[in-house]
């Protein structure tokens, strides 16, 4: 190929996508000639991880600019794909459709929140932070407000939020690796970490960028292909997202017929049975819960450093803005498919006219189905004839939400090759997010804590060695915590958003939009906001305290953000305004023209 790598990106990733499709077809052929499902699963996961590791190796670097911000030359569209992979975690890939299946309308708050947040990123943050020219989020806080204390506060919030998040992702890689490769979970966690480090250690942000693009391609193919296939099979056309309105209506009829919500499941099974209606927005309290959850997820999106730092890698401010738009488009493809998938799965299970329907059928017949037996054996599913009438009722069918994505190909009778593909997609989603998070933490510690605060005279080599050592240590700590399985994946993810928004949202936004904002105010906003949010979480979660305004542990950041805003504004107004140099810095941040505020080699 002629020209440099950046010019050839469409060609490189076009070939890669073609190669991946050929691999899928090859697996399909091998299945036809008798290869077993386990081997196909292992080949899928192993092959894709090998590719990512190869990209990581080819992207190795010893330059600071390449390590921290991928040399600032990632085109808007490709950065959009990388951000989408960075963003969509194991939770989005595996758990979201299942969450909608069980949670109905209320759960769609995650879908709205995890997309609408990008409007805040695009309008309030990304282009201005790109103009600033920082390497990390604390780098911006530390320079805009000045002083090591502000920088340190930002580092602490970043580490707490991102570490909470990364343990969930390593947990997810461990779960998927364990099942696909048939190894124990504890081994799977360390295996997953090895894969993650191979992608990020040698090339930092540059390597993570190019592996994330590759991971996006795998995960989106893996998510969409089964849904399109299934939809086509059921006569909803090739693009089901536009045509499943009827299915939503039909599910509502079936829910009445099967008495969803009326029949209560027996307690103590450890798995969930369907009790919520698919499309019931509920009372005013439910509306309040919907908007508060959506708001927290949006504010968290705009405060999470592993997302913001992706926009430091674009060639220009203009490209940073366009890149946010591409990111959301690529994310949208998965998020508007998840509710369709949840609806189809529900329809297949509930509709007695379909061959796949199980509710209302004979208990003995359902027990003999292949997929029921297979998933029962691994504890993901359970059927109990609790009223002893020999018929399976809706409150007698228990499962884990993850099944909606993982088992749907089998429920719908698709070939095994699709299940292998889904495993590879889930692995890609969890690995790409874990990569971004680990790098965000390690970079904040190596650049802000070590280089800016402890040893400003360290040479390039020393800085980059420190960055890598930290990456390994944090990864190992994450894997160690993940193997303890302290929290559920979804709980940990929502907490990360709340932590980040409590401490960082207002100091980030006001630093750009309020010239008067000063160091004292920012420090007060970070410390008090973060402390108030954390205190409230502990108060309601472990000390048995009452919830204020129905704000539960998924929404504790609202308390933190309110305190953060008030503290920052009051303290800023009580202390003197920032000096002229800082005010000029804010002016220059607001226009794209001119050099970045921090030089390329700071």
């Amino acid at each position: 190929m002629k020209g440099n790598f950046i010019d050839n990106l469409p060609k490189v990733y076009g070939l890669y996508t073609g190669g991946f499709i050929v691999f899928i077809l090859l697996m399909a052929v091998l299945e036809q000639i008798g290869m077993d499902a386990e081997t196909i699963g292992i080949l899928f996961v192993a092959f894709t991880i090998l590719i990512y590791a190869g990209i990581g190796w080819l992207s190795r670097t010893m330059e600071v600019g390449a390590y921290y911000v991928a040399g600032r030359q990632v085109p808007a569209l490709f950065n959009g794909m990388a951000t989408a992979a960075d963003w969509m975690s194991g939770a989005s890939f595996v758990a979201m459709a299942g969450g909608i299946y069980f949670g109905g309308h209320g759960y769609l708050a995650f879908v709205v929140g995890w997309t609408g947040g990008y409007v805040l990123v695009a309008s309030l943050m990304a282009p201005y932070l790109r103009k600033f020219g920082c390497y990390t989020v604390p780098d911006y806080i530390g320079t805009r407000y000045g002083g090591n204390l502000a920088r340190l506060c930002a580092v602490i919030v970043l580490v707490v939020a991102s570490f909470t998040y990364v343990t969930a992702q390593i947990n997810a890689t461990g779960t998927i690796a364990a099942r696909a490769l048939q190894i124990p979970f504890e081994v799977g966690v360390w295996f997953g970490l090895l894969g993650i480090l191979l992608c990020s250690m040698l090339g930092g942000m540059r390597a993570v960028t190019w592996t994330q693009v590759a991971q996006y391609i795998v995960l989106i193919i893996a998510y969409l292909v089964p849904v399109f296939w299934m939809s086509n099979k059921q006569g909803f056309g090739l693009i089901p997202e536009f045509a499943y309105g009827e299915a939503v209506m039909r599910v509502a009829e079936l829910e009445v017929m099967h008495k969803v919500g009326e029949l209560k499941p027996v307690a103590g099974v450890g798995l969930a049975a369907l009790t919520k209606l698919h499309n019931d927005p509920g009372s005013a309290v439910d509306s309040w819960k919907f908007v508060t959850l959506a708001f927290m997820m949006m504010a968290g999106t705009a405060s999470l450093p592993h997302i913001l730092m992706r926009y430091f890698t674009t060639p220009s401010v203009k490209a940073a803005r366009q890149s946010v738009a591409w990111s959301l488009l690529f994310i949208f493809l998965l998020y508007f498919t998840a509710p369709a998938l949840a609806t189809f799965t529900k329809l297949q299970i509930l509709d007695p006219n379909l061959a796949t329907g199980i509710i209302g059928k004979s208990f003995a017949d359902v027990s003999n189905l292949d997929w029921i037996q297979k998933w029962s054996n691994v504890g993901f599913l359970k059927i109990i004839d609790s009223n002893g009438d020999g018929i399976l009722q809706i409150n007698e069918f228990f499962m884990r939400g993850d099944i909606v994505v993982l088992a749907t190909p089998e429920i719908a009778g698709l070939p095994f090759v699709i299940s292998g593909l889904v495993a590879a997609g889930g692995m890609a989603a969890a690995m790409s997010t874990a990569d971004g998070l680990l790098l965000a933490i390690a970079n904040a510690l190596s650049h802000d804590l070590y280089y800016k605060m402890i040893d400003p005279n360290a040479d390039t080599k020393k800085r980059l060695v420190a960055a890598r050592v930290l990456l390994i240590l944090i990864g190992a700590a994450g894997a160690a915590v993940a193997s303890l399985k302290l929290t559920s994946i979804l709980g940990a993810v929502a907490w990360a958003f709340n932590f980040a928004a409590s401490g960082l949202f207002f100091p980030l936004v006001l630093g750009i939009w309020w010239k008067r904002a000063n160091r004292e105010g920012a420090v007060a906003g970070m410390i008090l906001g973060f402390a108030a949010g954390t205190y409230y979480l502990v108060h309601i979660r472990w000390l048995g305290g009452a919830e204020i305004l129905d704000l539960n542990h998924l929404r504790f950041g609202i308390v933190g953000m309110a305190v953060s805003l008030v503290a920052m504004v009051v303290v800023t107004l009580m202390t003197k305004e920032p000096d002229q140099e800082t005010q000029d810095m804010v002016d220059n941040m607001r226009i794209p023209k001119g050099t970045t505020i921090l030089s390329g080699d700071h």
């Binding site: 309308h105 709205v112 409007v119 309105g245 499309n279 509920g282 919907f290 203009k318 946010v324 001119g594």
Partner: protein, 88 residues
């Protein structure tokens, strides 16, 4: 940098701010207001969907994607109008 006068900066920022406010108003409506009234919206249908469900599962998402593409386009126009866009 000196060729950009404080007046130009102020005018550019005023327009930027207005665009941002417009963006956030639309964002607010499609993030919160429509979902607050999901029960009422479910009385109507759109493309075969109950409207309240449609907005949460797709409609708001479409609006978000479109408005960010529009924002990128419109902000670039503003930057060019005041001569503060980056040199290509």
């Amino acid at each position: 940098m000196s060729d950009i006068t404080p007046e130009v900066r102020a005018a550019h920022w005023a327009k930027t701010r207005n665009l941002t406010i417009l963006t956030l108003v639309i964002w607010f409506i499609f993030s919160f207001v429509v979902h607050w009234f999901a029960n009422d919206l479910n009385g109507s249908t759109f493309m075969g969907f109950p409207l309240g469900y449609y907005m949460a599962a797709q409609g708001s998402l479409f609006v978000f994607v479109l408005q960010i593409f529009y924002l990128a386009y419109a902000q670039n126009k503003i930057d060019e109008e005041f001569g503060v866009a980056e040199d290509e």
